[in-house]
């Protein structure tokens, strides 16, 4: 017996998509496999690493801890939605480029979405607050120093 599929409408980066997915499809998989938005990365799949972080109505959430069917009615923003329509980098993206805030880049989408929301809530973080803003995201490469610098640089640029 094949698994029943549900009709789901997802609003991602301002575009409404209609998909048919099983109830158990994680939002992270729906974004990556059904919509081809592979910027959202999957590391641990149990909420620990933060690579899959997307914005839901502007707030960062783990896409691996939500089902696509539960995301109906939310305005989702993935890393693909952060740059301008003409490709201009957002201030957070620009700051990561300037400060060398990434090495392999696997963790980067989750940092970019998290920091985008973090700076909206607190546009002028102290050094401590900048560190705290990224505390829920893991990076295996950078040692975090340049990521913290990027948060502070993005705050200067006016995120």
């Amino acid at each position: 017996m094949s698994e029943p599929l549900l009709e789901v409408q997802l609003s991602v980066n301002g575009v409404v998509h209609d998909l048919r997915v099983p109830a158990r499809r994680l939002l992270s998989d729906a974004l990556r496999h059904d919509l081809g938005l592979t910027g959202t990365h999957v590391g641990c799949e149990h909420g620990v690493c933060g690579a899959c972080t997307v914005l839901a109505d502007g707030r960062p959430v783990r896409a691996c801890l939500m089902f696509a069917v539960s995301a109906v009615g939310l305005n989702l923003t993935t890393v693909e939605g952060l740059a301008g329509a003409d490709g201009t980098l957002s201030n957070v993206q620009q700051a990561f480029a300037e400060c060398h805030g990434l090495q392999c880049g696997f963790c980067t989408p989750g940092f970019l979405t998290t920091i985008t929301a973090g700076l909206r809530d607190n546009p002028q973080p102290t050094h401590e607050q900048a560190r705290d803003m990224i505390a829920g995201n893991l990076c295996r490469c950078t040692g975090y120093q340049n990521i913290v610098k990027a948060v502070e640089r993005a705050a200067e640029l006016g995120a």
Binding site: E3, A23, T53, R62, G118
Partner: protein, 270 residues
């Protein structure tokens, strides 16, 4: 790994949600999903039906009265943490919530979900127990209030019936002149505590609640115990166990240190 297949319903009313739950003995409530989804992904749980309560109206409210703070089942940790009135009436809520996971998890995870998930490594079940709060639940035969003292029956096990939904949790206000303190040791801020402790000093009594020390949330009454004896007095009533995160001896040492720390802070004897 991915979750096993399940049947999914997202009811628009409490009646429909209760019917969906009682219609399938293998059904489970889905709130924030921050504990349940990892369990499903690791296939440690495989419910046949998920009843997503996120579409239920009126459950996302945090209501503050002089008597305390009432948190609806869809209020996220983040909503409770940033609620100024709630922090004024019962300051332990904010103190404890700032240690619950990371901001991103708190945006989705619910305070009531954490309380009924009944993890003794979680902060809020202990806070509810220490404060003597309660949970309001609805089931096929109506509404009942479960006091915290009757809520926790075993590891990850609450006294809610399978077909009941918790609609809110109530935390009593801090008494006039009362004081609270919270401290925990975790490998990284936001991780589950190796040991956590909260002190409640009210009307001459001193109580301390512990996180990650036993299978269920535990509170000991340390009224009248001299400061230098606090740690041993607490340990006389607790049996911290060892696991891959910390040995029993290390947990016992954390109990000693944290008990003294939170009681000193709450009694103003720093």
């Amino acid at each position: 790994m991915k979750p096993a297949p399940f049947d999914y319903v997202r009811p628009g009313s409490l009646e429909d949600a209760l019917a969906a739950l009682s219609g399938d003995p293998g059904a489970k409530v889905l709130a924030g999903g921050q504990s349940l989804v990892p369990l499903l992904s690791m296939r440690l749980a495989a419910p046949s039906r998920l009843v997503d309560i996120n579409g239920l109206p009126g459950l996302d409210e945090v209501t503050v009265s002089p008597g305390g703070v009432r948190v609806g089942a869809l209020a996220r940790h983040a909503d409770v943490l940033t609620h100024e009135e709630a922090a004024r009436v019962q300051p332990l809520l904010r103190l404890a919530l700032s240690h619950v996971a990371h901001a991103t998890i708190r945006n989705r995870g619910t305070t009531v979900g954490s309380i009924v998930h009944a993890d003794s490594a979680a902060e809020l079940p202990m806070v509810l127990t220490l404060l003597g709060g309660s949970v309001e639940v609805v089931g096929p035969s109506g509404t009942r209030t479960i006091p915290a003292s009757e809520l926790y029956v075993g590891p990850l096990e609450s006294s809610l019936a399978h077909d009941e939904i918790a609609t809110s949790a109530s935390f009593p206000a801090l008494a006039p002149g009362g004081r609270v303190a919270f401290a925990e040791i975790a490998r990284r801020h936001g991780d589950y505590a190796l040991v956590g402790a909260a002190a409640l000093v009210e009307g001459g009594t001193v109580k301390v609640g512990y996180v990650s020390v036993s299978d269920v949330p535990v509170v000991v009454d340390l009224s009248g115990v001299p400061v230098k004896d606090l740690g041993e007095a607490a340990l006389a009533r607790l049996e911290p166990a060892g696991d891959i995160h910390a040995t029993a001896a290390y947990r016992a040492q954390l109990v000693r240190v944290l008990t003294e720390r939170v009681v000193r802070e709450a009694t103003g004897d720093e």
